[in-house]
């Protein structure tokens, strides 16, 4: 068997795949954050908790009602997105005239409430969610063994990210959205209901987080803390990429996932912090972020 830089190819490609999987989640979550930030100007701290909710609602659907994974992919984002709409209407909408930091503090509080409630109900040990039968097993690619479900996660994430990018950059609705980001007053004067658009945008961002949660349920164990640490890494991803561009958020997410995977091969001790180190370097070299507009 050949070796690359003294690393067996199975290990290398295995970690690369793992990095790509993590990157899929970074991309989906930072995309949601970027979409919300673009229109609402707030950082949605409860994004990680809403991702966790997505995984839990999928688990509940399967356990209590027998609704399978494929329906969960459709139902969960709608249900969790609806809770996002309620939160935006009842709470976040009251803060738009204030400093953006209050939005951060409010959503941090919401994250604590959501995580605390789930921890009370389900404890901290993970709940199992099995891989759907259609995607169990794997494919032998010759140089490595590719589990089908993981391949599906990467493909699904790429498709969803691309669809979101297309919807925002290439459609009429997306044009309204981008216009409202630039100048909400003017867009409102053209007869477009900007407050409703803001509400639905938040709902959509939350739905993206929930979708990521459903995709994650069969890979990671479903537990109340699954989103808490992940969201901090995603914040670092967002700082590195800059939130100015949708495509930038997607590319940074996948890219950093792969970098993290490679670090796990060559310097395992550093894999937990490599993204934070990259963030430090980016702050030194290009403070606005790789794809950010200079302030």
């Amino acid at each position: 068997m050949f070796e690359l830089l003294g690393i067996p190819p199975q290990a290398l490609f295995g970690q690369l795949l793992l990095g790509l999987i993590n990157g899929s989640f970074y991309a989906l979550l930072s995309l949601g954050l970027a979409v919300i930030f673009g229109l609402l100007n707030i950082i949605n701290f409860s994004h990680g908790a809403q991702y966790m909710m997505g995984a839990f609602v999928a688990w509940m659907l399967l356990t209590y009602t027998g609704i399978n994974y494929w329906w969960a992919l459709l139902i969960v984002p709608i249900v969790v997105g609806a809770t996002g709409v309620v939160i935006e209407r009842l709470m976040i909408s009251r803060l738009y005239h204030l400093d953006h930091l209050y939005g951060l503090l409010l959503t941090f509080g919401l994250a604590l409430i959501i995580q605390g409630l789930f921890r009370n109900q389900y404890g901290v040990s993970g709940l199992p969610y099995s891989i759907p039968a259609e995607l169990s097993g794997g494919t032998n690619l010759g140089f490595m063994f590719l589990p089908n479900y993981r391949a599906w996660v990467v493909v699904a994430s790429v498709v969803v990210c691309f669809a979101t990018w297309f919807a925002i950059e290439k459609t009429r609705l997306g044009a309204y959205l981008r216009a409202a980001t630039e100048n909400p007053t003017l867009v409102g004067a053209f007869g477009i209901n900007v407050p409703r658009m803001i509400t639905l945008t938040y709902g959509f961002g939350v739905a993206l987080a929930a979708l990521a949660g459903v995709l994650a349920a069969p890979i990671y164990s479903v537990n109340p803390n699954m989103g808490a640490d992940l969201i901090i890494v995603v914040f670092a991803v967002v700082v590195i990429g800059g939130m100015g561009s949708i495509l930038g958020a997607i590319l940074t997410g996948f890219g950093l996932g792969i970098v993290e995977g490679l670090t796990r091969v060559f310097y395992p001790e550093g894999s937990a912090v490599v993204i934070f180190v990259i963030m430090a370097i980016v702050l030194l070299v290009k403070p606005a972020g790789l794809f950010g507009r200079t302030p």
Binding site: D99, L112, I232, F235, V273, M279
Partner: protein
């Protein structure tokens, strides 16, 4: 709705006037008397916990309320300092005052390193950057050989102050902690009312104008960041000596959130708000200690209620009511 701008937080509370109002001195004096008598009624260890968190929250408030910078990673300084102090007291057998000073030094150095990077961004980005770096410190504390991993550093000796005074009795230690915390609170008060503090408030309220007036805004921000980190470190190191323990809880992001909550609840940008906030949250935690994650839920509810209903905080509301800055 405006374009996404990166502005610092502006205090909602009544602006503090130039100079030191006399009623502040009266409040400080009353506070000192109350705290000196308090151990007769309340358990000293509980009081020391309140004092440590009051200092921690005041350190954050110096940065947030007066510098306009929201750090979501202050647990890094609090936690690192408590690890250093605990290690110095236990493994090197140093006196508590030296151990605490080493902790403060470590927190200051870390504050300088993180501050240099973090002040390159503002507003919510600043919050995210500090949070991310604090998480890095958390991973360091989890993996480093001398931190004891999940167990932390336990059974830290309280030792003898200056090699003379035995601190193993709670009451003796209480008066030492009171002296440390009260001294630090007066120092923070002095910083706020110094010319440096006035420039800081000017930067918070209007950064472009401060720049055009010729102030080196970045230096002021970095200076206040390091001061805040050092004071948070003082709180963390003192707590490590009091509880004879340094653990991962002290350096985790939940701790950063807690201290933000204390400051928010008490009143950002007020002198006495963080003290009230810390006392309220520590009491609440003690009271609900047996209810598991309900403490987290309740903290979240207080966060949401504070942001939606009274952004000035308890002391901010009082100050408005009394028409006096507190």
């Amino acid at each position: 709705m405006t374009m996404p701008t990166e502005t610092g937080y502006r205090s909602q509370a009544a602006a503090l006037p130039v100079g030191t109002p006399r009623h502040h001195m009266v409040i400080f004096a009353v506070l000192l008397v109350v705290l000196l008598l308090a151990p007769a009624v309340l358990y000293p260890v509980f009081l020391m916990k309140v004092l440590c968190f009051a200092l921690f929250a005041s350190a954050l408030n110096l940065l947030l309320g007066f510098g306009g910078l929201l750090s979501f990673g202050h647990a890094a300084f609090f936690g690192l300092s408590s690890y250093v102090a605990a290690y110095a007291a236990k493994s090197w057998g140093l006196n508590p005052e030296i151990a605490i000073l080493l902790g403060v030094a470590a927190a200051s150095v870390l504050g300088l390193a993180i501050g240099v990077l973090a002040i390159r961004r503002q507003g919510i980005y600043f919050a995210m950057v500090t949070l991310a770096f604090a998480q890095m410190v958390f991973f360091f504390a989890l993996q480093a050989p001398f931190t004891g991993g999940e167990d932390g550093i336990q059974a830290v000796p309280r030792g003898r102050l200056f090699g003379l005074i035995d601190l193993s009795a709670d009451l003796t230690l209480y008066f030492v902690v009171l002296a440390i915390v009260f001294g630090a609170l007066l120092l923070i008060y002095r910083i706020i009312h110094s010319p440096f503090g006035q420039v800081l408030k000017a930067i918070r309220d209007n950064e472009p104008r401060s720049i055009s007036l010729g102030y080196k805004v970045h230096r002021y921000k970095l200076a206040v960041f390091v001061m805040s980190a050092a004071l948070a470190g003082l709180a963390g190191a003192t707590k490590a000596i009091v509880f004879q323990l340094a653990s991962l809880t002290d350096v985790y992001w939940t701790m950063s959130g807690e201290v933000v909550l204390m400051t928010l609840l008490g009143g950002m940008g007020t002198v006495f708000g963080p003290l009230v906030g810390a006392a309220a949250i520590v009491t609440m935690q003690n009271y609900f200690a047996g209810f598991g994650a309900w403490v987290t839920v309740l903290q979240g509810v207080i966060f949401v209620a504070s942001v939606l209903l009274f952004r000035e905080g308890i002391v901010g509301v009082l100050a408005k009511w009394l028409k006096k800055p507190l």
